[in-house]
């Protein structure tokens, strides 16, 4: 198993290399002079020359790539064009709200969706099953920002239950912290929860049809013991996989959710960077989000050996 863990960790290196290459190549494969593109329509020749020099675009391509990767390995993501601050510092300042929102969404979605999927599979064909499936289809269909505005309308405009927008760090008091987190979490969690509920149901239906489930029931084991102890345990691997893959949807949703709720996180930073054409920031954010995604899926892969001791690599 130790060899498997090492092999799995090493396998992330080529993936991250492709990500880095893509992020680097984007700027150079695009038609036209990158410095002109970044500078925008209103730039003077001086601006363009300044940007070209700042990004090292006047050097040969392989030198640029080597310098860039060397910097990355030392935690240097470059300098923001607009603010002149290191990108790593700008990203560092914005991590907390994004991390808070992502973790709360992950927790709420998994805790709500797995029981929903289990129930739907256990009562397959009943009204519970139908409600869960309708929820899943709606979850895939209602875009995160539409749902976010619906929530704002219901909970903040027609009733005054929750604050319209903003973010309060956990140090600012538990009450405001949670009340600001409720709507973003629900809006962001919908797609993710729909995905997990659907996979849980499918995976549980497979397991519940197995002979050992009938045996467990026949020997008079209580329903909850059969469902959780026997069935869910065996259905866990595909569920863990979809949670890992679903994190990509979560990351995409974060950018939008933070814009709607005016949360000062990485998503807002991305949108500001787009509007200012601050390309080093966009590059840095892609690298950070992709690393997080690869890392989470690495953890999911490693969790297989615990979830299912039969899996030996």
């Amino acid at each position: 198993m130790f060899a498997y863990i090492i092999r799995r960790i090493l396998a992330t290196i080529p993936v991250m290399a492709v990500v880095a290459l893509f992020v680097f190549a984007l700027l150079h494969l695009s038609p036209g002079d990158p410095a002109v593109i970044i500078a925008g329509d209103t730039a003077t020749l001086d601006d363009i020359a300044r940007i070209r020099q700042k990004l090292g675009l006047d050097q040969p391509l392989y030198v640029q790539f080597a310098t860039w990767v060397w910097g990355l390995l030392h935690g240097d993501l470059g300098i923001s064009i607009f603010t002149n601050l290191p990108v790593s510092k700008l990203i560092g300042q914005r991590v907390e709200p994004t991390l808070t929102l992502t973790i709360s969404t992950l927790l709420v979605s998994v805790l709500a969706a797995v029981p929903m999927g289990v129930l739907a599979a256990w009562k397959a064909g009943s009204w519970i099953d139908r409600v869960v499936m309708v929820f899943a289809v709606l979850g895939f269909s209602v875009p995160v920002f539409v749902l976010a505005y619906l929530l704002i309308y219901v909970f903040a405009i027609s009733t005054d239950l929750l604050p319209v927008q903003g973010f309060v760090p956990i140090g600012g008091g538990l009450g405001p912290f949670f009340s600001h987190l409720v709507m973003p979490t629900l809006a962001l969690g919908m797609v993710f929860a729909a995905l997990i509920a659907r996979m849980t149901r499918a995976s549980m239906l497979d397991v519940l049809a197995q002979d050992y489930i009938r045996t467990a029931q026949a020997k008079g084991l209580a329903n909850d013991k059969v469902l959780i102890g026997h069935a869910l345990k065996n259905a866990a691997v595909p569920i863990a996989t979809i949670i890992g893959i679903g994190v990509a949807a979560l990351i995409s949703g974060v950018v939008v959710t933070e814009t709607v709720f005016a949360i000062p996180g990485l998503g807002r930073l991305t949108v500001d960077a787009i509007l200012r054409r601050d390309y080093p920031i966009i590059q840095g954010i892609i690298l950070v989000f992709s690393s997080a995604y690869v890392l989470i899926n690495l953890l999911v892969d490693l969790s297989y050996t615990f979830l299912d001791p039969r899996i030996r690599y």
Binding site: F22, S30, V146, V255, Q283, Y293
Partner: protein
């Protein structure tokens, strides 16, 4: 959702039973509802000028921020433009992007998937690249591409296609890898059928059903991504009425005029729902074994 290779259903024209329209509707209710809703949206997009709309770009500052009424069905925005007209015309952008991305991603994905499924060394290279691209959330790929190009519908389509390509390629490759080991392909090979004939007659037709299902989901997600890009200011040019653009314009006014965001959001959700229902129905119809589980 990708289709697990083990659940492949092989195409055989003789097994398709013919039945009346009613039987069809009763057997595939979700597909019919989805198809009908999507058809309505398509008709609305095509006949937009004849549906009681005015010029969606026409400004009239005196009539700004009017609430929905008999004259302005969906109200007017901060520049006095008619939101009903803008929403109806917005369907054109969404459907164009959705259909174009689905076609382009399926076409290129099919070509790359077929090649990688049969050639070991291209497989090794191409799949490493696809693995890397798949670990970048697709919206970020699209944002990065849009940040480098001028805002236009063509560029939006291109950016979303690139972001969706890895998933389609993986699906096709997976199907091809399973198919080429099956007895009927081996038999065709043994009886002296040429490589291209096997590819054309035996492999290609069997990749199409899962690809068709995948294409519907690609179209649905492309519409959402287009709306998100426009909403964030990195998508369709602001002068073109797209659902994402209308919502972006209503963003700062949501507390005083929520109807600006409401109507395009509603139309976007209904269209995506219609495509998802159609896709679910197609999957049920084309792959009965998988259908029972999902």
């Amino acid at each position: 959702m990708t289709v697990a290779p083990a659940d492949l259903t092989l195409v055989d024209a003789r097994s398709v039973r013919r039945g009346g329209l009613l039987t069809y509707v009763r057997r595939h209710p979700t597909m019919v509802v989805g198809g009908a809703l999507l058809g309505l949206m398509a008709l609305m997009a095509i006949f937009a000028p004849y549906l009681g709309t005015v010029d969606p770009q026409a400004l009239s500052p005196i009539k700004r921020l009017r609430w929905p009424s008999a004259q302005y069905w969906f109200g007017t925005d901060m520049l006095g433009r008619d939101i009903y007209s803008r929403t109806v015309y917005g369907a054109r952008v969404s459907l164009t992007v959705g259909i174009s991305v689905a076609l382009l991603a399926s076409g290129f994905g099919l070509a790359i998937g077929l090649v990688t499924g049969f050639s070991r060394w291209t497989d090794a290279i191409v799949m490493r690249i696809m693995d890397g691209l798949m670990s970048i959330p697709s919206i970020l790929i699209a944002i990065a591409l849009m940040a480098l190009t001028r805002a236009s519908i063509e560029n939006v389509i291109f950016a979303i296609t690139v972001a969706d390509l890895p998933r389609v390629t993986r699906l096709v490759r997976g199907v091809v890898l399973t198919l080429r080991e099956l007895p009927f392909v081996e038999a065709a090979h043994a009886s002296g059928t040429g490589f291209f004939r096997i590819l054309w007659r035996h492999i290609l037709p069997n990749t199409l059903p899962p690809l068709l299902v995948q294409a519907t989901f690609v179209a649905a997600s492309a519409m959402i991504v287009e709306a998100i890009l426009s909403f964030l200011g990195a998508g369709t040019p602001p002068n073109i009425p797209s659902w994402g653009n209308i919502m972006a314009e209503g963003r700062s006014l949501f507390q005083v005029a929520y109807y600006i965001v409401l109507f395009p959001g509603l139309f976007l959700s209904i269209t995506v729902l219609a495509i998802n229902l159609l896709g679910d129905g197609l999957r049920d119809a084309l792959d009965p074994r998988l259908a029972r589980r999902m």
